[in-house]
Amino acid sequence: VPDLETAVASLLAGEVAAFRVLVNATMPRLFRLAARLMGGVEEAEDVLQDAYLRAYEALSNGRFDSRSGVETWLYRIVVNASLDALRSRQRIEKRPTMFSLQSLDSAQLEARVALRELADWVRALSPEQRTAILLKELEGLTAAEIAVAMGRSEGAVEQYLVRARAALRARRDHG
């Protein structure tokens, strides 16, 4: 397992190659997070490009607070990049994306079908409610951890969760 703190220290010292170590070590988990939040693989790719670019610029300019740990810091950047993307998607209705079935094995195909189902499940929620409920139910975070990741108060997160559950329940009851 690569030492992320060492990679960050090298990057801060100007070693650009250390960024590759950081991306390779953190991307699988962050990709899954972005795909769940966005409900699609292509949108997750866009979010990750944006998030890692923000991270690279921050690290290159010495704007990294090491107190939180690099993985938590990156996780927060991805959550916020996803929130931004979800908000802008509300304004511009995107056409559904297609993916090539031929290049996927059955496990990946099943995972992508599940992503579609997931996206449909939370479709009616606001970006904040959607992010909060998915971080809680799929990522297994506590309300306090969600509050840190989203940059909101714990009380606000509790509200998002209550409203999200109510909306999902209402949707199920009314078809």
Binding site: R20, F31, L53, S60, G140, R165
Partner: protein
């Protein structure tokens, strides 16, 4: 209770079904190339701005001093060339 069970089981199913989701091949490399290829626009400015207004004043003074020194050395060089020309004579 049934409500809660239904919600929990759906969330559990979706969590499990997306657990093995893998990034597309080559995405990591594209991300690295994209980030590293960005021009370092604003690097010097953000460094200066971290020190606030005093940083900006300091940067302006350094720039002014550089111009002054460049002109000074230029005029000395011109003087030196002129005196050499006078010494050599026609």
């Amino acid at each position: 209770m049934a409500d809660s069970d239904d919600f929990e089981s759906r969330a559990r199913h979706l969590r499990k079904a997306t657990e093995e989701l893998l990034p597309p091949t080559g995405l990591a490399e594209r991300i690295v190339q994209n980030a590293v290829a960005q021009p370092p626009v604003g690097d010097w400015l953000s460094t200066v701005m971290r020190f606030g207004r005093r940083g900006l004043v300091f940067a302006a003074l350094v720039a002014a001093a550089s111009v002054f020194l460049a002109r000074l050395s230029e005029s000395r060089l011109e003087d030196a060339i002129a005196s050499t020309t006078l010494l050599e004579g026609p």
